[in-house]
Each structure stands twice: as structure tokens, then as C-alpha cells.
């Protein structure tokens, strides 16, 4: 990269007053508020869940309290095995969020490493980007099927599949940011005073790329949750009796026509989480780049 390369030497955009701009957006406040409540409730599940999520001794198919035939004892009713749905919902949300977060974390981490290596070491660039292209040519669901076929259904294959599906896009975003950072003067200065590659990569490149990767991952989080839930719904994810939203929705299918709440409530919870995550992501993108508002 030469210093005459105009395009890549443009300074990085600085989000001035980003938080203030975000906080003045009512969508952000509502979506953020709901999401924070959901996350807090799922984290506090052991303390606020009225019953043990695995306890099966109650009457099955009790509808939620607000519906005909419901009782205030079980606010969201019970499932087909007589377990309290509210308690399972709280624990299930925890499992679903954790699966998505771990997928984003591992996939994002691997993507950042690949993207930075490709930008820093020119000789690694072609092989890494070819590998990324290969990953991009297959949909996430196919990775899910393939990994579940090899190691059998469970939470672990889902996390691996979500990670693999996250890697290529993150690698691309990181690389394009890192290429810009590489042309900044402080990189040159760091190299001139004899800093090691490791120091330059971690302290100079890495820290400067994390911001854009974080924004990107926020945009993607909703989709990752949806893919994970879909794989669980298919039976390739969490194993019973564990509570996980996608699996709970699948288990409620048999009772769909006489106790629809068993599958509707977990589905609705996934919808709320993803909707809030998507709205937050859109708002974040608009705040960072107002030109994107029309997209």
C-alpha cells in the first residue's frame, strides 16, 4: 500500500455524538428497552422462574392465565408434559440467546483474525480470501445439516454452524477496515520505531477494527438467532428435556390444534428478540451513516 493510494488513505469515520443520536431515537429506546428486559429476565431465570422448568408433575395443556380455562397459578399455562411454560420460556430464552452469542463470538473472533491476517500479511491475502469465498458459497443451514450429520444433533453442532456462517462476512468487513487502517500514518510510525508485528497487529490494527466489526455483528445478531432457532426447530439442536425456544416451538406442534399456546409463546419470544435486534441494528447503521437511511 503506497501513500498515494487516495481511496484507502481516507480517514476512518468518527462517530461523533453517536450515543446521543441513538438515545434521541424512540425506536432505539423501545427496542432496546424490550431487549434489555428480555435479556435480564432470562439471566435472572433461576431467581424469578416460578417453577422448575423440568418438573413434569402438573396438569398438561393448561392454557395461559389470560385465556379461557387458564389459571393464575401458571401465567403462561403448561406444556404437553405438564411443565410450567413461563419457567421454560425464561430458561429457553437463556439457551437461545447463549447459543446465538457463542456463535457470533467464535465466528466473529475467527473472522477478525482472518481479516486482519489477510490485510497485514500480503502473502496470506489470496488464500484467506479464497477460503472466505468458499465459505460464502454455502448457506448457513447447509453447514448446520452437515455438522449435525457428522457429530449428531445437539447445541454444540448448532454453535459450530452459526460460527462458520458468521466467519466469512466478518472476515470481509475486518479486512476492508484493516486495509484502511494499514494506510494510516500511525501504522507507519509504529513500524518506524521498530514495534513488533504482534504489537502492531493487536494494539494498532486490532483495536481500530473492533468498532466496525461490532456494528456489523449487531446487524447480524438477529439473523444468527433465527438460523439457530430454525435448526433447533428441525430437531438438530438442543436435546430434550432441555428448554430452548426453537425446540419448544417444535414440541408444541403436536398440540397445535388444541393447545396452540405451547408453540406460539416460544415462537413469539424469538420473534420479539429478533425484531428488537434488527431494529437496533438498523438504527445503529443509520446513526453511523445517515446516507444509508433510505436503504
Amino acid at each position: 500500500m503506497t501513500s498515494t493510494d487516495i481511496e484507502s488513505s481516507t480517514p476512518l469515520p468518527r462517530p461523533v455524538g453517536l450515543l446521543r443520536r441513538l438515545a434521541s431515537d424512540s425506536t432505539v429506546l423501545i427496542a432496546g428497552g424490550i431487549l434489555v428486559t428480555i435479556v435480564a429476565a432470562s439471566l435472572l431465570a433461576p431467581f424469578i422462574a416460578p417453577y422448575d422448568p423440568y418438573e413434569t408433575g402438573y396438569a398438561p395443556f393448561i392454557p395461559p392465565a389470560f385465556m379461557e380455562g387458564g389459571t393464575s397459578e401458571f401465567l403462561l399455562g403448561t406444556d404437553q408434559q405438564g411443565r410450567d411454560l413461563l419457567s421454560r420460556l425464561l430458561y429457553g430464552t437463556q439457551a437461545t440467546l447463549l447459543t446465538g452469542l457463542l456463535g457470533v463470538f467464535f465466528g466473529g473472533g475467527a473472522g477478525v483474525v482472518l481479516g486482519i491476517l489477510a490485510a497485514y500479511f500480503k502473502k496470506f491475502d489470496p488464500p484467506i480470501m479464497r477460503f472466505v469465498d468458499v465459505l460464502l458459497s454455502f448457506p448457513a443451514i447447509l453447514f448446520g445439516l452437515a455438522i449435525a450429520a457428522v457429530i449428531g444433533p445437539g447445541i454444540v453442532p448448532i454453535i459450530i454452524a452459526l460460527s462458520i456462517a458468521t466467519v466469512p462476512d466478518v472476515a470481509r468487513v475486518t479486512r476492508s477496515t484493516a486495509v484502511v487502517v494499514m494506510s494510516q500514518e500511525y501504522m507507519e510510525a509504529g513500524r518506524a520505531i521498530g514495534l513488533s508485528d504482534r504489537h502492531l497487529i493487536i494494539r494498532y490494527l486490532g483495536l481500530n477494527c473492533i468498532g466496525s466489526v461490532f456494528v456489523f455483528l449487531t446487524l447480524r445478531f438477529g439473523q444468527v438467532i433465527l438460523i439457530g432457532a430454525a435448526l433447533s426447530f428441525l430437531g438438530l439442536g438442543a436435546r430434550p428435556p432441555m428448554a430452548e425456544l426453537g425446540m419448544m416451538a417444535a414440541q408444541g406442534r403436536d398440540a397445535l390444534f388444541f393447545a396452540p399456546h405451547i408453540s406460539t409463546i416460544p415462537s413469539l419470544a424469538i420473534f420479539m428478540i429478533v425484531l428488537c435486534a434488527n431494529m437496533l441494528g438498523d438504527a445503529l447503521r443509520d446513526a453511523l451513516d445517515p446516507r444509508m437511511r433510505n436503504m
Partner: protein
């Protein structure tokens, strides 16, 4: 352009090889002795040994892999471990069903999305725009199975309007059409949003162009300007979006098939994995992966055909 395609083709070769290695390993990983499975429970050790020789299982792994590749190249994907049917035959039927579902979905979701996106762009920041955008965000945030279970519960069961289990026959028969309606509606629902969003952004972009100002200055009616001049140019990114979203659509199709017992590849693959039927799972994953390699190539080609400017980049 030619370079782009050459690059894609070159890239496909190692990927294809990787996919084949994966399929081969999946078969090797299968629990139990394949020769025993073929021979059946009452076979004597001598018979099993003979079958093992016939199947080439006594050969080194590399030789076995070579045999595997040549078998796959001839369209022989082995036999299902559960019901001993030909994997290739089952897959061929399932591929047709999945293709039907995807086409039925695109047939309504793409026009609906384009119409919604165009109207939203024309009335930018108006009420219709807000409704379309809200619908679009809701569409991409809904789990497919939620839409499916809701439609099945109301349109299928409560109001008895449409059948919701399996395939009713070929698409040109009334029963076939009635059976595909709910699955196609479900799958289309997650696709209308992205198409509408893309169309809206693209139309808004084109409306700023000079040739639109010229068209208006010529005194053309607004309807003609929008449909003839703006929409035609705005559709290029929309078409590419449809191609690029094939993977997203497949993800939805796998779930949709499972909900409505639609006999497609997705349902076949999931069923095979859950039953540890490795030959069937291997065949399904292999053919899906190859289908995606082909789809990506076609999308790349379409890029150049639809937008000649791509060639000069």
C-alpha cells in the same frame, strides 16, 4: 467478466473435491458395517465377507475414495440404510418437490415485493411507506416456523380453507395447487420483505437520476416514468438479490418442508440425519452443496447479462 467466471469455475474445482471428501467421510463415519447392513441380519460370515469384497471395502481408503467419486459421477449415491431404496432416485423426486416449492414461493413473493417496494418508494415517508417497511422488518424477523404454524392453524385447521399436509400431485392439477398454497405462502412471507426493501432503495436511487428528470421534462405521465423508466432500471439489483438469497430461501424451505410434510430435499436430509441414515444424508447434503455451486455460477453469469457495466469493472 470472463475472468470472473473463470475464477468461479477454478474455485469450484477444489470446493467440489472438498464436498466429495465430506460425503465420503460421512459414509465412513456411519456406525455399523455397511457390508453387514447390505447382507441383512441372517447372513453368514462368508456371505458378509463376499459382499465386503464386492463393495470394495477391503481396499485401501484412497482406492475406496476413487471408487466413490466415480460412483457419484455416474449418479449412484448408494442405498438408504433404513429402507434400502436408491438414494439417487429418492433425491430426484425430492429435488422436484423442493424446486416446485421455491418456484411457487418466488412466483408470488417477487412480484408482491417489487410492487410493495415501488409503491413505498413513490410515496416515500408516507403512511404506505411506513407500513411496507414495518411489514418488511417484521418479515425478516419472524421465524419461518412461526408463520407456518399460524397459517396452518388458521387457514388450514380452523377455517378449513386449504390442505396442510404433504403434496397433492403435479402443480397443474387443482389438488396440487391447493396443497402447495400454504407452504408457498409461508416461504414467500420471509422473502417479500427483503425484495420490497431492495426495490424501494433501488427505485429511490434511480428516481434521482438525470434520465428520470428528462423523462418528466418531456411531459411523460408519472405512471409511465415510474414503470417504464425507473422500475426497469431499478430491477437489476433486485434480480441479483433473488439469486444471492437462494441460500436464505433454502433455509426457509427446509423448515417449511418439515412443517407441512412437503416431500422435499430439506425434509429428506433432516429425516436422514435424525435417523442416522448416512448414505441418504450424504446424498442429500452432497446434492444441496453441488446445487449451490451451480446457483452461484448462474448468478455470476446473470450479473453480467443484466448489467453490461459489470463487464468493464
Amino acid at each position: 467478466m470472463g475472468q470472473q467466471i473463470a475464477y468461479r469455475l477454478l474455485l469450484s474445482v477444489p470446493v467440489l473435491l472438498g464436498v466429495l471428501v465430506f460425503g465420503f467421510l460421512l459414509l465412513k463415519l456411519a456406525p455399523g458395517d455397511p457390508a453387514m447392513v447390505v447382507a441383512g441380519p441372517s447372513a453368514t460370515p462368508d456371505v458378509v465377507e463376499q459382499i465386503r469384497k464386492e463393495m470394495g471395502l477391503d481396499q485401501p481408503t484412497l482406492v475406496q475414495f476413487w471408487r466413490y467419486i466415480s460412483r457419484v459421477a455416474q449418479g449412484d449415491l448408494g442405498r438408504s440404510m433404513i429402507n434400502n431404496t436408491s438414494v439417487a432416485e429418492e433425491l430426484a423426486l425430492a429435488m422436484v418437490a423442493t424446486a416446485e416449492l421455491m418456484i411457487a414461493c418466488l412466483a408470488w413473493a417477487v412480484p408482491a415485493g417489487i410492487a410493495m417496494g415501488t409503491i413505498a418508494a413513490v410515496f416515500q415517508r408516507g403512511l404506505i411507506d411506513r407500513v411496507v417497511m414495518a411489514f418488511s422488518v417484521a418479515g425478516v424477523s419472524m421465524p419461518v416456523f412461526f408463520i407456518g404454524l399460524l397459517l396452518m392453524q388458521y387457514l388450514g385447521y380452523k377455517w378449513q380453507l386449504l390442505p396442510f399436509l404433504g403434496r397433492g400431485g403435479p402443480l397443474w392439477t387443482l389438488e396440487g395447487l391447493r396443497h402447495i398454497t400454504l407452504p408457498a405462502m409461508t416461504l414467500g412471507f420471509i422473502f417479500v420483505g427483503p425484495v420490497a426493501r431492495m426495490t424501494r432503495a433501488s427505485v429511490l436511487d434511480v428516481l434521482k437520476a438525470d434520465f428520470i428528470r428528462t423523462a418528466r421534462a418531456k411531459g411523460l405521465r408519472e405512471k409511465t416514468v415510474i414503470i417504464r423508466h425507473a422500475l426497469r432500471n431499478a430491477l437489476i439489483p433486485v434480480v441479483t438479490l433473488v439469486g444471492l438469497q437462494a441460500g436464505y430461501l433454502l433455509g426457509g424451505a427446509v423448515v417449511t418442508e418439515s412443517i407441512y410434510s412437503w416431500p422435499g430435499v430439506g425434509r429428506l436430509a433432516v429425516g436422514a440425519i435424525l435417523a442416522s441414515d448416512m448414505p441418504l444424508a450424504q446424498g442429500a447434503i452432497l446434492s444441496l452443496a453441488i446445487a449451490f455451486l451451480v446457483i452461484n455460477l448462474i448468478v455470476d453469469l446473470l450479473y453480467g447479462l443484466l448489467d453490461p457495466r459489470v463487464q468493464h469493472r
